[in-house]
């Protein structure tokens, strides 16, 4: 068991680096970081401009960026577990003295850092294709909110990552969760168009608060971004508190039953 911080950091850094190398040749990453953000930005901003609501342009740009961040961060993080399983290395990682969540944190952080590219891509698309005025009212709060959103999404990814150890269908699961989360988080449209009874579900999702924090920092939504950032920090802690015992239980279960290869 790793019991010291330098050891933990070394493993995290090594996983971070390993994931970065794997990502460089991964088609899905190229698609989620560079291609779909451009297409979704054009599609959403184009729809708003056609609908006579060009003032929603920046909102749609941020939303498309958040979709890219979500895809690159979580979707591919789910694929990490699936990839290790396919590569035959999942059992070894779980059996190793290094806790598996530490490896997963390193790899997820690597994806999270790379996912910032998609946000940059959507802003560049808005600027180049639509000549949108991309004025951010409070740039510092915007950057802080973006980093906290990444942290919250990575923490959420750890919760899901624990479940992905138990299934071979992580990819299919993530694929189907994408759009409900985009809808419930109101990434491309105001949440007010959704029925009232869905709002509590939205409140539990990091992308919704991340999007709100970014929108507030950009001056699109009235409010104090720092207060929403506090909520993001709280949400990250809750996710981590759920993820830790979940990993412990699942790891214990697969070690006890020797059933990891069965899933």
């Amino acid at each position: 068991m790793i019991s010291n911080l330098p050891g933990l950091l070394r493993v995290t850094a090594a996983s971070f680096k390993m994931q970065a190398k794997e990502r460089a040749t991964n088609q899905f990453f190229i698609g989620t970081l560079l291609i779909t953000p451009v297409i979704f930005t054009i599609l959403s901003v184009g729809t708003y401009i056609y609908g006579g609501r060009a003032n929603f342009g920046l909102y749609a740009v941020i939303g498309a960026g958040m979709m890219g961040v979500w895809n690159a961060n979580l979707w591919t993080s789910g694929r990490i577990v699936e990839g290790e399983r396919r590569g035959g290395t999942l059992s070894m990682l779980v059996a190793a003295p290094t806790p598996f969540p530490v490896v997963l944190v390193g790899k997820s952080l690597s994806n999270a850092a790379a996912s910032l590219i998609s946000m940059a891509v959507t802003f560049a698309t808005g600027l180049i294709v639509f000549r949108l005025p991309l004025d951010i009212a409070n740039p510092f709060a915007f950057i802080v909110s973006l980093l906290l959103t990444l942290a919250a999404m990575t923490s959420f990814g750890l919760v899901l990552g624990a479940f992905f150890v138990l299934t071979r269908n992580a990819g299919a699961f993530i694929e189907v969760t994408n759009y409900p989360i985009f809808i419930l988080s109101g990434l491309m449209f105001p949440l007010t168009i959704l029925p009232l009874w869905l709002r509590p579900l939205s409140a539990a999702l990091a992308p919704m608060w991340g999007n709100l924090a970014l929108g507030t920092a950009a001056g699109l939504v009235a409010g104090n971004p720092w207060l929403i950032d506090l909520y993001l920090i709280g949400l990250s802690l809750v996710y981590l508190m759920i993820a830790r015992p979940l990993f412990v239980r699942i790891e214990h279960r697969v070690r006890r039953d020797g059933s990891l290869e069965v899933f």
């Binding site: 708003y48 809808i183 449209f189």
Partner: protein
């Protein structure tokens, strides 16, 4: 001709066997159906937020066709990718049998699944966003769905033929599928795009078919949209012919150089 029919049937059987392994009840009900409906819903909600119920209705028809067309493009390309992935492509090339009817048969389940997706979107989302479209007009549009989807499938074959010697098939076909959302007038009329981009839209399958489908749903007669459907059919045939020739050319090169295993 008898041999063609046998090869076609064996292709259909192989394709159905693949699909029946992949589509377990869990995958159908927990992944395919929700994913299809929610993806369409997401883009319809963007249109609703941008332009109210009229633009939402426009997006409903567009996304209904796109969900099938996207699947058509990716699945037809995947037919070729799958042979490569499973290592059966060299046997197909080496075999004296004509590959064309067999590949056509293998594509059939993808085509049927595409139609099932149209039906799903219609069943679940039409009651909410399809105001003003009569059931008769909807039924009259069914033959146009079939032709448009067939034309779009030809683009999938072309994509598969182009990427045959590469490992980029999935990324390319997905990118084409998403680009069609912008270029074929799914969420907003493609006439608002810059003229140069509109030309690309004109050259793609689905653009004219979708215009015809919208017109028929608005009450136009078949005679009114005959021109559009003639263009749609021609575009599909051209793509199919180019895909056939290119695929045959690729296979000949592969036979000559013996490098099929490198694909």
């Amino acid at each position: 001709m008898m041999q063609w029919s046998q090869l076609f049937r064996s292709g259909v059987r192989a394709s159905w066997a693949n699909l029946s392994v992949e589509l377990t009840p869990a995958v159908i009900f927990a992944s395919r159906i929700p994913r299809t409906i929610l993806q369409a819903l997401f883009f319809i909600l963007i249109a609703y937020a941008a332009g109210g119920s009229e633009l939402a209705k426009f997006a409903l028809i567009g996304n209904m066709m796109h969900t099938a067309a996207f699947h058509g493009v990716v699945e037809m390309s995947f037919v070729i990718e799958l042979e490569k992935y499973l290592g059966t492509m060299p046997y197909l090339i080496a075999s004296p049998a004509n590959w064309f009817p067999m590949m056509l048969g293998r594509s059939l389940t993808g085509y049927v699944e595409g139609l099932a997706r149209v039906a799903l979107v219609l069943c679940f989302l039409f009651p909410f966003f399809g105001m003003g479209i009569s059931a008769i007009d909807l039924l009259r549009a069914v033959p146009l769905f079939l032709i448009t989807l067939a034309a779009t499938s030809a683009l999938g074959w072309l994509s598969g033929a182009i990427t045959l010697p590469t490992r980029w098939g999935a990324l390319v076909s997905n990118t084409i599928g998403y680009l069609m959302m912008i270029l074929c007038g799914i969420n907003f009329p493609f006439s608002v795009l810059p003229p140069a981009v509109q030309w690309i839209g004109h050259a793609l399958p689905m653009t004219h078919g979708l215009l015809a489908i919208r017109a028929v749903m608005d009450g136009a007669s078949y005679a009114d949209v005959a021109g559009l459907m003639a263009i749609e059919t021609s575009v599909g045939l051209i793509y199919g012919a180019v895909a056939w020739k290119l695929f045959a050319h690729r296979l000949n090169i592969a036979r000559q150089t013996g490098n099929i295993e490198q694909f």
